[in-house]
Amino acid sequence: MINWIIGSWAVLEKDLRLEMRSRYALNMLLMFVLSSLLLMALAIGQNPISEHMQIALLWVVIMFSAAIGLGRSFVAEEERGTVLLLQLNVPGTQVFAGKLVFNFLLLLAVDGLSLTVFSLLLNMQIFNLPLLITALVLGSLGVAGATTLLAAIIARATNRGPLLPVLLFPMLIPLLLSVVFASRQALAGGFGWIGAQTELVTMGAFAGVVITAAFLLFEYVWTD
């Protein structure tokens, strides 16, 4: 058990260290988030929009950022030629765990940036910030779980286009329904924790199911 944690931590640390050296993926992702948020805010203009729309647009930006930014985790290994090295040194589940946590942290950065910028640009009235943050974190866990396995899948594909969004968005439909409803409860007209509790449980369950399925299937995707 300890070995497993040490191995996963090693993979995570390797990715973090490489990322901190060049900050290439992080910067690109955050710039993408910023530009799309700005694009949306300018398109909306001065007119106030309902809470439904605010949360919907926020989550659309987060989903697209996940699809575009998190795909690099396995593709980068292929490009650098380190896949074989990783396969030889670390068992599959530890690789997946390390990459999952890395993607989750990236997604949390995306969440933080989107929430801050969006709430400023659109003048969101957040009544219950802890609830909103909990909804974002739980939702991101599910998104990160699905995206990490799909990133491993597309890294094996020879002709990639916008393949990750095509594979990812259908899978996230159940999550999106719950997460938008739960996030909305933190704004005006929402019912706070009471209103969101069923959805939060659903989101936790979704994250659990997706991550479990991903762990089970990762070996088949990862090894030739």
């Binding site: 699905a146 396995l149 799909l150 899948i153 597309i154 094996r156 594909a157 020879t158 002709n159 990639r160 393949l163 095509v166 594979l167 968005f169 259908p170 899978m171 439909i173 159940p174 329904l177 719950s178 409803f181 069923t198 959805e199 659903t202 369950a205 979704f206 199911v209 997706v210 479990t212 399925a213 991903a214 299937l217 088949y220 995707v221 030739d224």
Partner: protein, 235 residues
């Protein structure tokens, strides 16, 4: 490679003719037999014989496809991959039919949001979800050149996507309002249908699943032949 050459043609033709006869009788009975008077629906209730069996058939196709994907991961047999793909193709076909019959039916009969094409009903979303998954599955298959990799990885995606189905089936409908009969707040269809409709309805389900079986086995056989000749199993 496992030998699937010997299909018992006599038995196959027997079952195939039985299915065709069954579906013909269901079609005739569906349109010619009397149905009780139901408010709002009136004669559009006959769509029940076609719309709901499409859903059952797509679920059956999804199970068959998932089972064969699981076997691909377990054994790596390319024939299982052919079966999984063909089940997915036929399932998509039935799913599109179910969605179209439902949309046309609901445009004229659903009161809340009447005369709109899309009602954001949980079951509509479920069918769309399954169709999107299959669309992504087909796209994913087209990005691979190596057949073994293609089989294994698309099987992994198929199973992964199916893990989200229980959520759509059980969790989301409990939380969203639905206009479908038998869902939250609506009388079940069995409460408002006369037993005489069930006489055609249950055979319709069996008939359409039989039709799925006929189409599926035919396509699998053609794909197998193509695989034997050209080593390429896409159909």
């Amino acid at each position: 490679m496992m030998s699937h050459a010997s299909v018992n043609l006599k038995k196959y033709h027997l079952i195939r003719n039985l299915v065709f006869g069954w579906v013909t009788i269901v079609l005739l009975a569906g349109f010619l037999l009397d149905i009780p008077k139901i408010n709002i629906l009136e004669h559009t209730a006959r769509n029940l014989y076609f719309h709901v069996p499409m859903w059952f058939t797509m679920m059956a196709a999804a199970f068959v496809s998932g089972y064969h994907s699981f076997k691909v991961l377990q054994t790596g047999d390319p024939v299982r991959d052919i079966r999984a793909l063909q089940a997915a193709r036929i399932g998509t076909f039935f799913g599109i039919l179910g969605l179209l019959t439902g949309i046309i039916w609901s445009k004229f009969t659903w009161y809340i949001g009447t005369d709109v094409w899309w009602n954001f009903d949980p079951r509509q979303i479920m069918v769309t979800f399954q169709l999107l998954i299959y669309g992504a599955y087909f796209v994913l298959r087209s990005t691979f050149d190596d057949p073994m990799k293609r089989a294994r990885i698309s099987a992994a995606y198929n199973l992964f996507a199916m893990s989200a189905i229980p959520f759509l089936l059980y969790v989301i409908p409990r939380q969203m309002e639905s206009l479908h009969p038998g869902a939250e707040g609506n009388p079940a269809f069995s409460e408002i249908t006369h037993p005489i409709m069930r006489m055609v309805f249950y055979p319709a389900i069996i008939g359409f699943i039989g039709l799925f079986w006929v189409l599926y086995t035919q396509r699998v056989r053609v794909a197998l032949m193509k695989y034997r000749i050209t080593q390429d199993s896409e159909l």
